[in-house]
Amino acid sequence: MTTAAVGTVHRATALAQALGRALRDAMAEDPSVHVLGEDVGTLGGVFRVTDGLAKEFGEDRCTDTPLAEAGILGAAVGMAMYGLRPVVEMQFDAFAYPAFEQLVSHVSRMRNRTRGALPMPITVRVPYGGGIGGVEHHSDSSEAYYLATPGLHVVAPATVADAYGLLRAAIASDDPVIFLEPKRLYWSKDGWDPERPEQVPGIGRAVVRRQGTSATLITYGPSVPVCMEAAEAAGAEGWDLEVIDLRSLVPFDEETVCASVRRTGRAVVVHESTGFGGPGGEIAARITERCFHHLEAPVLRVAGFDIPYPPPMLEKHQLPGVDRVLDAVARLQWESEWTSEGGVR
């Protein structure tokens, strides 16, 4: 599976449209679902994800708010306290930062603070990640901030079906969900049919996108297609790579990840987010703690460099690409096998 080359499918829905469809279906099904954010009404959002919602459901259900992210999320907290199910759009990853205090001090803690009396069924949609030629503050991979905050779920779809299915699940969840939308994949299509949305596993379940035996690539969001491409290319080198799409970082599906790594004995974690303090460190640590005796090599990470996100003309050096993934795979200490198997792998 890659995100390209599906032009032959007669119903080609882009990932962004599937997100819009998920919002529409959720709003039609449940009158307590409200969409709010900057430009989500008349304009339909800067990525057009909310296109048509204000027209179909009215401006009270899909609301253009003042330009103030803390106010948007703070108001969503009050709306959730009164029994609504707000879906908040943060216009870009880096523009979500003003809402950080509301998120960390209230959204993530309110259920716990009140012993369950005030759950926070809020979905925060965050267009995230690089690769679209965006200028400064438009390409951050901010997931590490969110997954370090107890009380939040953190989800990132990579396929059109998951975009629809996971967003429906996020809106239906009684817990706050940070829904990271890979901007780079907004216009990707993979033959998903909006009239027959396939069932996808709920939040917290990873998916094996490609089965393999030599090593496991563990990834999510915009890096999933990169890893799929790397896995195809790796065949020529004699490596049969397994690719796991985590789909959600919190809850983290340790079971699927560990089952794969125990089988393959080697793992590379791939993400755009910076490496130091990034999700890869946590994932590598968990694999090491739980699969140590199955490992043939240290768990490696392919991540963004530990630098502020580069300007667009330099971003290709920051984003983990196929070559960098294959280089990491090559460093998984295959020498031990060459020795035992006479140099053949």
Partner: protein, 391 residues
């Protein structure tokens, strides 16, 4: 044809899109803080309401004293007293209908108690056995909020949601003078005004944000003037005059209830005690300043009014004080019992459904407790979500 081609034809005019949005004059606050007690306006007040306010003020003063004493005995981790601000606290609670919501800050325990919250439950946060010791739905009191002004957008969102559902609900949000400098204050007021949400914002200007005086906090003519910038009315009231605060808040609540949108009320008062029991107020203010405010004490102001009009005598004063003593004795007695803690509850309410990681960590703690001979009181195998349990 351009202007340059027709010399003399140009007449200055506003840019095409410009039009006045609203007339600021009706939004301006009072020139000086509104007073009712000791003025002719007090004559029209309901004696029953005044009597109730008196009882609540006396009880509130005693509550502040008792809670402060409990910090010295180690029964409270900390207590930010509202001594001197009881008029604001009581008036806020009495201005609301049962279906309305109160959004208190950490200094507003008393307002929550005056609204009907159990005095012990209201202190859970400050005792430290849980963060919020009550079900907010029971008395429509949001959790006491520690990060400054962050509860204000919640009040706006809740009031907005209620209005969308067609419910007759007003939200009253409390904040201090320091809190008005926070970004959330600005965003909340702006959202409320744009949405015409049924919210009332009460700023208790008690003179200090811990040690920083108002002069270092704002250059505005008054905090109430800030309302004009948002297109909502500002009101300025003597925060130690319980009748005046109650009147202004009641009018603002009615205005909101009738679809008129939000109001910003600044109540000018004074924090007689230090910021908390851990603070030393002598480092930043003089005794003379405190004494000047003591002469303007909210209880004394009301007592003078009531006794002057023959609505209160020595027996009435004694009765109010005795009722307050009974409350204090009950508070003391119940606060001196050790709360029953269940460490396993740490994992119960993080998510609707526990993650695998939390189940594992809960098992670790359960094992540690068992090894230490202190098994969890509930000692359940399943630490999944359950109904909120008290104490």
């Amino acid at each position: 044809m351009t202007v340059l081609e027709q010399p003399g034809s140009y007449r200055p005019a506003p840019p095409p899109a410009w039009q006045p949005r609203t007339d600021p004059a009706p939004l301006l606050p009072e020139a000086e803080p509104l007073r009712v007690l000791g003025t002719p306006a007090a004559g029209g007040l309901d004696p029953v309401l005044l009597g109730r306010m008196y009882g609540e003020l006396v009880r509130g003063r005693r509550y502040n004293a008792q809670a402060t004493a409990l910090t010295r005995q180690g029964r409270l981790a900390v207590y930010p007293a509202s001594t001197g601000q009881e008029a604001c606290q009581v008036a806020a609670a009495l201005a609301l209908e049962p279906q309305d919501w109160l959004f208190p800050s950490y200094r507003d325990t008393l307002a929550a108690v005056a609204r009907g919250l159990d005095p012990v439950d209201a202190l859970t946060l400050l005792r430290g056995d849980w963060h919020t010791g009550y079900d907010p739905h029971e008395h429509r009191v949001a959790p006491l909020c520690t990060p400054l002004a962050t509860q204000l957008p919640h009040a706006v969102g809740l009031a907005h949601a209620a209005r969308l559902k067609g419910d007759d609900v007003v939200a009253l949000a409390l904040v201090g003078d320091g809190g008005t400098s926070e970004g959330d204050f600005h965003e909340a007021l702006n959202f409320a005004a744009v949405w015409r949400a049924p919210v009332v914002f009460l700023v208790q200007n008690n003179g200090f944000a811990i040690s920083v005086p108002l002069a270092k906090q704002t250059a505005a003519p008054s905090l109430a003037h800030k309302a004009v910038g948002y297109g909502m009315p500002g009101r300025l009231v003597d925060g130690n005059d319980v009748a005046a605060v109650h009147q202004v808040l009641t009018e603002a609540v009615r205005h909101a209830r009738n679809g008129g949108g939000p109001t910003l009320v600044e109540a000018v008062t004074y924090r007689m005690d230090a910021h908390t029991n851990a603070d030393d107020a002598t480092r930043y203010r003089s005794d003379a300043e405190v004494e000047a405010w003591r002469a303007h004490d909210p209880i004394a102001l009301l007592e003078r009014e009531l006794t002057g009009r023959g609505l209160l005598d020595e027996a009435g004063i004694r009765e109010a004080r005795e009722a307050a003593e009974r409350m204090a004795a009950d508070l003391r007695e119940r606060m001196n019992r050790d709360p029953v803690l269940d460490p396993m509850e740490l994992f119960t309410h993080v998510y609707a459904e526990q993650t695998a990681q939390l189940r594992e960590q809960a098992a670790q703690l359960r094992a540690e407790l068992a090894a230490a001979g202190e098994p969890s009181p509930a000692c359940r195998e399943d630490d999944g979500p359950q109904e909120g349990r008290r104490r």
